[in-house]
């Protein structure tokens, strides 16, 4: 297989290097036709915050990987930071396997990352739009999409929250059956707290109250999350009403103490409440944990959940590898079927089968001697008829890239109705 992969990722390059070589989809749309024109017959450029990888088929033997790397670096004016040693080069099935690993999320920085499959699809679609995808990359990338989808549905590779903010939502979903019937209270604003609020909103939380020392900030967040602003001194009142509290304020004293929560619990009929304290120092008196039906969790809990989920994902890698093996095997089968020799063999077998079936019908109408003559005559006829197509098919492979050959072979197969065995 002529496929070549030139790229760098989070395993070979630091974030400073990766961000230098990051191409947005718009940039890819501009630069990819140029790359293809200079070096390739077909190509797809996949660029995310964790990797920039060029998949393609070289124009001819004179093209050197170094030249492509130089082009990628100089295109971003990153000579001073990005070095050749950051890149890896893979060929043929190694390159395909790598793409399948990328699409299924096991090559991601965060194993099982669900975004990557979408990014691979986007990269492929941009290449299609640029008109630089041939038969080979078409098949290879569709194999990758299928692999990614199977990995997601057939294994638990992307199950469970692995980020702290999602872990908070997962925790809430372990207590409450339906987030959309619950109310939340966000006290203060930090990155994790905001992200958590965002996830809760995306799960359709019924109502979100936001309390912050600076009221402008609270109003801004309320607008963003479609929530309601409450004053800090109203927290106590709201506590009886809300089911999920996320607190991350930089204060020296507790925002919520034992007696406040205790009286709020009485007010709310002792219904379970989840309080997530991610403030440093802590915002909620740890003694609150002792009150029945109060679930007080902190950043350590969230990290423990994320870690446990991540370990479970790691255990799923062998299952994903198995899917990759299967898909790669199918691709190899497809590729082999589009080679010259098996196609000629199949073509000859098909004609021979027809010839035999036809003369068999007339066996009784000839004497054995005559039958032998008819047999020889038809055999010679078939050979002569097949001579030109056979030569054409052979020539189709001479010095031509995979994609063109595959396209031609595909045409021949359809024309003569050759089924893949």
């Amino acid at each position: 297989m002529d496929l070549v992969l030139i790229g760098l990722n989070h395993k070979t390059a630091s974030v400073e290097v990766r961000e230098k070589l990051y191409y947005t989809l718009d940039e890819v749309e501009k630069v990819l036709p140029e790359i293809v024109q200079l070096f390739l017959k077909e190509g797809v450029l996949l660029s995310t915050c964790n990797r920039t990888e060029l998949y393609g088929v070289f124009r001819d033997e004179s093209v050197k990987c170094e030249d492509v790397i130089n082009f990628l670096i100089s295109g971003k004016r990153a000579e001073d930071i990005v070095k050749h040693s950051h890149f890896y080069i893979m060929r043929s099935y190694d390159a395909v396997r790598h793409l399948l690993e990328v699409a299924s999320g096991i090559d991601s920085m965060l194993i099982g990352d669900v975004q990557i499959l979408g990014q691979v699809k986007d990269a492929y679609e941009v290449a299609v739009k640029c008109g630089v995808v041939g038969t080979l990359l078409h098949e290879v990338f569709h194999t990758a999409f299928r692999t990614g989808k199977r990995a997601k549905t057939e294994t638990a590779i992307s199950e469970g929250a692995v980020s702290v903010s999602y872990a908070a939502v997962e925790l809430a979903e372990k207590i409450f059956a339906d987030i959309s019937k619950k109310k939340g209270l966000l006290i203060g604003a930090g990155e994790t707290a905001e992200l958590t609020a965002k996830h809760l909103v995306s799960r359709g939380i019924n109502e979100l109250y936001i309390a912050n020392r600076t009221i402008e900030r609270a109003e801004k967040l309320a607008k963003e999350f479609n929530g309601k602003v409450v004053k800090l001194d109203e927290i106590q009142d709201k506590l009886g009403e809300v089911d999920i509290v996320i607190s991350s304020v930089a204060v020296n004293d507790y925002i919520l103490n034992f007696s406040q929560v205790k009286s709020a619990m009485a007010k709310r009929g002792n219904k379970p409440i989840l309080i997530i304290d991610i403030g440093v120092p802590r915002n909620v008196d740890p003694k609150v944990r002792e009150i029945e039906n109060v679930f007080l969790e902190d950043i350590d809990s969230l990290e423990a959940i994320a870690k446990a989920n991540y370990e479970r994902r790691l255990n799923e890698i062998p299952k994903v590898q198995k899917i990759i093996d299967e898909e790669l095997k199918n691709l190899i089968k497809w590729y082999d079927a589009h080679q010259v020799a098996p196609t000629i063999k199949l073509l000859r077998e098909r004609f021979e089968k027809i010839r035999q079936a036809e003369i068999e019908k007339y066996r009784n109408k000839f004497s054995p001697e005559d039958f032998q003559k008819v047999d020889a005559l038809t055999r010679s006829l078939v050979n002569k008829l097949l001579h030109t197509p056979t030569v054409s098919i052979r020539e189709s492979s001479n010095g031509k890239p995979d994609s063109e050959r595959i396209k031609f072979i595909q045409f021949v197969r359809e024309l003569f109705g050759l089924e893949q065995k």
Binding site: K174, I175, F176, P272, A304, R312
Partner: protein, 271 residues
């Protein structure tokens, strides 16, 4: 034939329970895939056994306490599998199948294969209703207690920050609580019917019928316990851990009372 079935049945339940346990505690993927199929097979096997037994011995398997235990094991697992197929709670069959295993095992060891009805008085439609209600009721109480146990488990894990495989495999607290409550309601309604049918049938069937029969008193006490528990929950809007504890205690009490009643009076003491 009957003996082979009787011998194999407890082993099938134990194997099913073991599989549910592997799936629940160890996340074993093979067990996860096969557990439900295995339970369906076990239940089918059990059902066939009950049919054959009824045909062979010429009476339904409800004429002795051990026959009833065997059917109770069946109905408990049946109730569980119905819940499994109707809700998203897929991983918690270990406890239901474990109790079924125990019931079927006890029944297997102690029940005798008596041909025909030992007592003519047992040939009665009201008895059938009485017994069916009892089966439904006690299965539901057992399920309610199982959900109570699961609630306590998850509650404890959330409190102690133990986010392990069991934590992952448990449904959420609210769902568990709702299942626990609904099961208790079903159990209570069924037990009410048990008592009503019993009161209609018993005085008609037995001349020496007495309101001091241990089982009668026991059943009534269980009814009071659940009526009290459900009433308190309704009036005080009690929720969370306490209701889970109540459900477990209710079932344990029911179990103890029934064991005592059986020890004192046999099936019912009138015959």
């Amino acid at each position: 034939m009957l003996k082979i079935f009787k011998f194999l049945l407890p082993f099938l339940y134990i194997a099913t329970s073991w599989m549910y346990g592997r799936a629940f505690f160890k996340d074993d993927s093979l067990a996860k895939r096969l557990k439900t199929k295995f339970l369906v097979f076990t239940l089918t096997f059990h059902f066939i056994y009950l049919i054959i037994r009824t045909a062979e011995l010429k009476h339904p398997p409800v004429t002795s306490i051990f026959e009833l235990l065997c059917v109770l094991g069946f109905s408990l697992s049946l109730a569980y599998i119905l819940i499994e197929s109707m809700t998203k709670i897929k991983n918690t069959g270990f406890f239901a199948t474990l109790i079924s295993s125990l019931l079927v095992l006890i029944a297997g060891i102690f029940s005798r294969d008596v041909y025909g009805f030992e007592h003519d008085v047992l040939k009665n439609e009201l008895l059938a209703l009485h017994v069916t209600s009892a089966l439904v009721g006690y299965s539901a109480f057992a399920l309610s207690a199982i959900y109570g146990l699961l609630y306590i488990m998850l509650y404890h894990k959330l409190r102690t920050k133990t986010f392990d495989t069991v934590y992952k495999n448990l449904p959420n607290l609210e769902t568990i609580e709702s299942m626990m409550y609904k099961s208790a309601i079903v159990g209570f309604v069924a037990l009410t019917l048990v008592i009503i049918f019993g009161f209609i049938w018993l005085p008609r069937a037995f001349e020496n019928f007495s309101y001091t029969d241990a089982k009668l008193v026991g059943t009534f006490m269980i009814w009071i316990v659940y009526a009290g528990g459900l009433g308190v929950k309704k009036i005080t809007s009690l929720t969370g851990k306490k209701t889970a504890l109540m459900s477990i205690i209710g079932f344990i009490l029911a179990f103890i009372l029934m064991a005592f009643a059986n020890a004192l009076s046999g099936f019912h003491k009138f015959y």
